[in-house]
Each structure stands twice: as C-alpha cells, then as structure tokens.
C-alpha cells in the first residue's frame, strides 16, 4: 500500500516532464511573427544561451573542485557518506538543467506571445502562461525525478544495522544533494541578478536619462541585454532558487520524519519519509490541471487578468488540501490530522505572504501610491518613503512565518504548549508546512516565469513596431507579469524561511551521522559540556534536545552569540557585495552604450544597428566576474565558523543569517517592487504623469530599487539556505576539526 503510494512521486515527475514537453511543442507550433520579430527574438536567444554557456563553464569549475573536496572527505578521511559527492553533483546538474530548459522555452516564447497577442488577449495570455508552465513543470518534474531515483537507489544499496538507521542515512544523504542545487541556485541568482540589473540600469541610465530614448528602443545598444537579463535573472535564477527550496523542503522533511521515528516503528518511519514526496507529487499533478484553467476574455482589465491566474492557483490549492487529507488518511501516519493541519498552515502562510507582497508593491494600494506622492518633494523623499514602506512591509511576512511556524509545530506535535517532549514531530510539522507551501510550485512558478516572457513579448512588440492594439495587449500582459513577479518573490522568500527552519533541524541529524562516522573509526568524542562518548550506539540514543545541551547551544554560550553576529553580518555583506557588483557592471554598460552612440554613425537616426552582442558580452563577463566573491564568501564562512567556533557557532551563524536574511530579503524585494510600481503609477497619469519632476524622482527610485528587488533581495533566499546546506554537508568536518 505505502510503496504504491510512493510511486505517485515518480509518476508525477514523468507526467510533469511530459506535459512540459507538450506545452513546449504546442508553443513552438505558433508563429514567431514578422522577420523583425524573429530577428529580435534571435538576438535575445543567442545572448541568453551565450550567457548560460559562460555561466555553466565557471560553475562547472566550482562544482568539480567541491566534488573533489567531498570525495576526499568521504573516501580519504571517511568523514562523510560515500554517496555525498555524487548526490551533490546531481543536485547541481538537475538545477542547471531546469534553468536551461526554462530559459530556452522563454526565449522561444516571447515573439510567439507577441504574435499571439495580435490575435487576442486570451491567446497571448494562454501562450505566455503555458510557456511559463514549461519552466514550472520542468523544475518540479526534475526535482521529483532526482528525489525518486535517489530514494530508490539508496533504498537498494545502503546497508545499515537497522531499518530505522538505514532510513536516517538515506534521508540525510539525499539532503546533501540539496547543496548542489543550492550552490547552482546561488550562481544562477547572483549571476543572473547582476547580469539583468547591469543591463537594465545601464540601459535606463544612458537611454532614458541621458539620451531620452524610450524603453525597449532598438537604438539603445543595451536593450537586447536588458531582455536577455529578464530571462537569465527571472527565469533561470528564479527557477533554480525554487528548485532548491522545493528539494530542500521535501528532503529536510523526509530527514526529520526519519529522525522523529528513529527509535520507533519502522513502517511509521517509512511513511513519514515518503509523505512529503507523495504530497509534492500530488501537488504537481494538480498543478498540471491548474494550467488548463487559465483563460481570459477580450479586453480584460488588470484585475480580471490577475484573477484568471489566481483562479488556477486557488483551484490547485483547494484540491491539494483535500488530496493531502486523503493521502495522510491512507498512510495512517501517527497524528495524521495534525500533520494535515501543518500542511494547510503552510499553504495559508504562502497565500498570506503573497497577498501582503501584493499589497505593499502594487499601485492599486495605498503604500505604493504614497511613494508616488512623495515624488512631489523630489527623489530624496521617494527613496526615504520607499525604504519606509519596505521596512514596514516585513511585518506581515515575518508574523505569517511566526504564526505559521507556531501552528505547524503545534499541529504536528499534537501539543499546544510548545513542549520539547514531542519536538521531533513538531519540527517535522514545520518541514511539511514548507512542503505544503511549495506543493503547487509547478503552477506558482509558471506564474513567475510568465512575467519575463510577457515582458519580453512587450519589448518585442515595441521594437517590431506592432500596432497599438497589440501593444496595449502585451502591455496588459506585461503589467500582470510585474505583479506576479513581485508576489513570486514574496513566495520564494517565505518558502525559503520555512525551508531553512527545517534545514536547521536537519543539521542536528547530520551532526549525528558525522559523530557516528568519527566514533566508528575508533575515536572517542568529548562534547563541549565534558561528557565523553565511546560508541556510535550512544550517539544514536541521544535526543535532539540532549544534543543541544551536550554541544552547549545556548544563548549564554558566547560562541552562539558570535555566530549570530556573523550570520546577521553575512546578510548585509552579501547585499553590499551584490549591490556594488551591479553598480560596477552597470557603469561599464553605460560607457559602452555611450561609446556606441559616439562611434557608430547613424544609430540615433536608425540607419545603423547598435552592437547588441557587445553589451550582452559586457553584462555576461561582469556577472561572471562579480558573482565569484559573494558566492565564495557564502560557501566558506559556514565552514570557517564551524572550524573555529564549532557546532554552537554554526547554530548561531544559521540563526543570525536566517533571521536577518529573511527580513532583509523581504525589505529589499518589497522596496524595489514598490519603487517600480510607484513610477508606473505616475506614468499612468498621476501626480503630473510622464515627463514631470515627480516622474523623474520616481524613475530614480525605480533605478535604486532595481538591484534591491532583482539582485540582492532574491539572492538572500539562497544565501540563507546555502549556509544551512553547507553546514549540513560539512557537519562531519565541524565535529572532527573544530578548534573551540
């Protein structure tokens, strides 16, 4: 019975990949429009693929180096499971593959969506959304495939003293492929974020501000790079980010499920391990159904377009509530109703965070309008009010996560007193809440990837000089994409916070494995509190809270506080590095566009074509160069802190990084989104409309907000998860070699 239910996961994975292929083929069957439209799309495609190729080269070098390090730790020092190096590599490979497919689809779709919009708004919306669904379904399909295959392989090959121990080893080993996905996601997000904003800010500064050239004007050499950036940042970057969250939440929950029942019934443990995989599988099948619901009527307004996407998400969410109830009932997991409550909590938390993001970033609501109004007194007040709105906007997401964590913990623990007696079950509840939030990722990611596709379609329509009716339709689709992109970012941050909490708990399980490896080699181990253990069996018998006591993970331990400080600092350091990276790359872009205006005769009269490829190259090289330092810092700091301050230091680091990173990420994404839409509100004819001083002030706000919302903010999601993942994978090293 339980084995049969597990097969839902690989079946859903294959279904997702099959439907992705169907949607891809159906998209490709559409016309790409006129010669000009094809030519523009080809420029963007070539640029995007050139970027990806370059990025994968550099990421490949990193992966090979880390693979060799893990191989040494596993086979040379025996500090890690021997599967870890391979799990790490496959996680990164599948994440990269998902980004590749998603971007390929997006770059083929843009001209086709513009062409479809010339038929009707509904056709444009459907095509854009189904092209986005390719990304969504490829991400969940590959993630579930990776998880299923590894689970089956490890289940067959891993040997252990008991069934319970075997499950613990399998789940903690699988968790390590999350690090591969995390690292690939960090490169995709940081590199993509720097690329897109260097191109965007560069194109805006020299185009709009200096030369007064409209957006998406083919005379601006950075225009194609800007369009390429939408794909590499918002498609490949977002996809890799959520792939990592998706895998991380499922694997962390499976690991927590295995840990919760390590001394109990093996069948119950098995059920707890496969439950998150099955729920993710069912959510994927429901996401496929949801894709077919999206449609709209001619001349639909912004709210109606939004509601057509909302209907699909709501439909799938309601069905997942019912389906997860039936699944848990069929599994007969211990306290299954409570666990179902945790799943519903996760779903609701995701929806609340999405709505809060919409409220603080959409110009339909007061906060963003207040930023537009502040433009009456100049750019300084736009910046001040945008930051104010961004700071305040952290309240609802943080409280949602607080309430969500509380409810998920208490539901699953079956106890409303926050007792630590049932802490393993409670932590399992937090993990499965993240799984619930991400269960319909196939669909929510489709709405995210839809954004850049619609944006590129709008750009293509502008550059190709399509009629005003078509442009009005692509503008409507694009405006909808801006909102879905903002809510998608909120969703990604919220899920990252819950996943990171689950990963934090999983860290302890990895520590246990690390200690077992150490003790099996015949070394005794003395905990910081002075207790010495001799055998692996003693470690296996230790409870979670005992572990925390033995390692002296308490606020009174200065090593924890030191870790917290470093963790909090990491979020700010990372933002600073990525923001400066955008600034430097954008400066180079501005200089290049200026040079082309100066040296290529006839650009501004439209007689000569700018050298688009040069700008793509500048953004690509800038992104590759600039992403190395922040990424290296993100990987090395958890290792260094672990080696110096040991387990308490790492816990502090993760807690500090998670709390400050989460809040900072919400602040940056929402400030940037609000500045962007404050400008759009003015452009729609408010506070003087286009061309006036208020407009100029809000354009400055938007430009400042660009790296906030598209580079630093989204990258923080991955930073907090990557630090957890690195800590988890390096747990054995921390235990064996820490100085203090």
């Amino acid at each position: 019975m339980n084995s049969i239910l597990f097969w839902i996961t690989p079946a859903a994975s294959i279904a997702a990949l099959a439907f992705a292929l169907i949607f891809f083929r159906s998209m490709m069957a559409n016309s790409e429009g006129t010669d000009t439209m094809r030519s523009i799309a080809e420029h963007v495609r070539t640029g995007a693929m050139a970027y990806l190729k370059q990025q994968y080269k550099i990421v490949g070098i990193f992966f090979i180096a880390i693979f060799l390090l893990f191989a040494y730790l596993s086979y040379g020092l025996g500090l890690q499971n021997t599967w870890v190096p391979f799990a790490f590599i496959t996680g990164g490979f599948f994440s990269g593959l998902a980004g590749f497919f998603g971007m390929k689809t997006a770059t083929y779709a843009s001209a086709r969506v513009a062409q479809a919009a010339s038929q009707s708004l509904d056709q444009g919306l459907k095509l854009a959304f189904r092209s986005g669904a390719v990304m969504g379904l490829v991400v969940v399909g590959l993630a579930l495939l990776d998880i299923s295959v590894w689970f089956l392989i490890l289940n067959k090959w891993v040997g252990a003293g008991s069934q319970q121990e075997k499950m613990t080893i399998i789940t903690t080993t699988m968790l390590t492929f999350g690090m591969g996905a995390s690292l690939q996601a960090l490169f995709a997000r940081v590199g993509g974020g720097i690329f897109t904003k260097a191109a965007d800010v560069g194109a805006d500064l020299v185009g709009k501000v200096e030369a007064s050239i409209p957006e998406d004007d083919p005379r601006n050499a950075a225009t194609i790079a800007d369009n390429v950036g939408d794909n590499v940042g918002d498609v490949a970057g977002m996809g890799a980010d959520l792939y990592e969250s998706y895998c991380g939440s499922i694997l962390a929950t499976a690991a927590l499920g295995a840990a919760a029942h390590v001394h109990g019934d093996p069948e119950m443990q098995y059920k707890a391990v496969i439950a998150p995989m099955i729920i993710a599988g069912i959510g994927t099948l429901l996401s496929i159904l949801g894709v077919y619901i999206v449609r709209t009527k001619p001349g639909a307004r912004q709210r109606e377009l939004m509601s057509s996407l909302g209907k699909a998400v709501n439909f799938s969410s309601i069905l997942i509530v019912v389906a997860s109830f039936l699944t848990l009932w069929a599994l007969q997991l211990e306290n299954w109703i409570g666990i179902w409550g945790s799943i519903v909590t996760g779903l609701v938390t995701g929806i609340v965070i999405g709505k809060a993001t919409e409220y603080y970033t959409s110009h339909e609501f007061a906060p963003t309008r207040s930023i537009s109004e502040s433009g009456n007194t100049g750019p300084a007040t736009v910046i001040i009010s945008g930051m104010g709105v961004g700071f305040i906007s952290t309240v609802i997401p943080v409280l949602s996560v607080v309430v969500g964590t509380t409810l998920a913990f208490c539901f699953a623990a079956g106890d409303w007193s926050f007792s630590t007696g049932n802490i393993s079950q409670g932590l399992y509840g937090i993990g499965i809440a993240a799984v619930g939030m991400l269960s319909t990722l196939g669909l929510t990611l489709a709405t995210d990837a839809y954004g850049p596709i619609a944006d590129n379609a709008g750009g293509n329509a502008e550059m190709s000089g399509l009629g005003p009716e078509v442009r009005a339709r692509t503008d409507a689709l694009d405006a909808l994409g801006n909102t879905t992109a903002a809510t998608g970012k909120g969703f990604a941050i919220g899920s990252a916070a819950l996943t990171a909490l689950a990963l934090l708990a999983s860290y302890i399980e990895e520590l246990k494995i690390g200690l077992v490896h150490l003790l099996e080699k015949g070394h005794a181990f003395v905990f910081p509190n002075g207790i010495e253990i001799q055998t692996a069996e003693e470690v296996r018998q230790l409870g979670l809270m005992q572990f925390m006591d033995y390692f002296e993970v308490t606020l009174m331990n200065p090593k924890v506080l030191i870790g917290i400080f470093i963790g909090a600092m990491m979020a700010f350091l990372f933002c600073g590095l990525t923001m400066n990276a955008v600034g430097r790359a954008a400066q180079k872009m501005v200089e290049e566009v200026r040079r082309q205006f100066r040296e290529i005769e006839g650009i501004l009269t439209g007689k000569a074509e700018p050298d688009y490829a040069k700008c793509v190259e500048i953004s690509t090289m800038g992104a590759q160069r600039e992403m190395i330092l922040p990424s290296t810092v993100a990987v090395l700091v958890p290792v260094i802190v672990g080696l110096i301050f040991g387990v308490p230091g790492v816990f502090g680091l993760l807690a500090g990084g998670l709390s400050s990173g989460f809040v900072l990420a919400v602040f940056m994404a929402n400030s940037g989104g609000a500045w962007d839409n404050a400008k759009k509100y003015v452009e729609e004819g408010h506070f003087g409309g286009k061309g006036g001083d208020v407009h100029k002030a809000t354009v400055i706000g938007d430009t400042v907000g660009d790296p906030f919302k598209d580079t630093s903010g989204p990258s923080l999601n991955i930073l907090i998860k990557l630090m957890s993942m690195v800590s988890i994978v390096m747990a054995g090293v921390t235990v064996a070699f820490s100085i203090f």
Partner: protein, 258 residues
Amino acid sequence: MKIYYYLSLIPESLVASMLPPEEFGNYYALGSHKRSRGQAIFFEIDPDKAGDAIDKEIVESRCVPHEDGSPRKSTYLKIYRALESIPTEAILRLYLTTDDGRTLAIEPSEYVHEEDRPLHLYQEICPVNPRVASKLNPVDFAKGLTNPGEPIYVPRIFFAEMKLEELAKNPDAPIVENLPYQNLAHLRDCLRELSHTYAKPNKAVIRHMKQDFLFRTIRGGFFLGDNEQLIYFPLPNKEELETVHYAWWRSALSGYGA
C-alpha cells in the same frame, strides 16, 4: 547638393543646411558627436518666397560640402530678429524634434474656433519665451501681443497652447493628475487671480523657459501670429500619434521637461 533653409525657433536663427528636415532635426537636437541634446522646433522655408531675408548667392557660396564630400550641416544666416524677417508665405511646414532626434512634420491648417474656455495657458516660444496664463483665446492672444498700439509688443509671435484640463474652467479643481508642470500651486494662484481679481487678460506664470517643454502637454497645436494673421500648426490627434507617428510620440513621451 540641395540647400534647405530652416527658421529655428529654439534658439531663434535662420540656417541653411544640406541636410533634409529629418536629418537636420536629428543633427540640431544631438549635435555631430551625440554628446549634447535638446529638443528642436523649426520651420522649413521656401527661399523663393523669402524676399530680401535670404540672399541665395551668398548662401550658395558659404553653404558648400566639406572637403571629404559630406554635406554641410549648418550655415547660420541670421541669429537676431529672424522670425520677423521671414514672410509668412515662405513658411512651408513646422518640424518638432524630440531630444533623442526624432522629427515630426506638421502642415499648416486652418484654425477653427473652439467653444471658448474661460482660461488658457500659453507657452511663448519665439522671440520671447515666458509661460502665460490668459483669458484670451489664441487669436486674440496673438493679436494682443503683436499690436503695435500697445506699449509692449513683438512684431510676430510663435507659441503653443498648453493643456489645463479641469483648471481651464475651475482653478480650484481638486483633482488634477496628469499635468506635469512645475509648481502647480503657483499656476493655480495665477489662474485664480485671473478669473477673480486680475484686471488684465494675461498673467505670466514663468518668466523664462529654462528647459525643454513636453510635447504631450500641447493642447491643439502651435500658432504663428501677428497683428494681421494667424497660422495654425495642429498636432496630429492621439490616434494618429499612436499609429502613424508612434516612434516620434514614444520619444516625445520619454523626455523630461516642465
């Protein structure tokens, strides 16, 4: 190479050039090295009807191609009182160039009187350039400014009427969203004063135009008038701007000004 004659209104000057109007507009807005920018407004002149204002022989001797064979972009013929020196019948059409170098041609057309509105806003462009709130319609406004009987007058005036939306009827209208003018409160004061207390028909809102003005704020079109006649250059309607002249219109919407 053919020589074209242009009467530039920003700044006022009479120019001969070997560039056709669109290219001249691009050059005039951006310069040769694309390091400068600024909108351009100019008339194309028929030299045969320009009378004494243009000495073709002198022009042909000065406006010659460069040594490399490239066309001469500009030869200045007059930089003072140029507007009044050209007979109105020599004026062929008006060109508006955005600050990124896109040019729109406007043919002269008959001005049809609209139902009068109590208040107007005019941007004088040449030879003087204050922004003026007025109770007069364009015809009377032009006549008043060019009336030799008045103590202060100019021989000829080129100006545009600008949008006032609801303020044209009610200076206290609470919601005025899409007027990008600087210091809207001051404009309201001027209009309020005109409609309630001020005895004169005109009141200066801005004494001197310091920056580009936004083509999207033009209501109707441009006027060239003196005490005897008024030539009207209507801006194409919104539908035409968004279809036929879309490239120009997008550029016009992308600039900043007051």
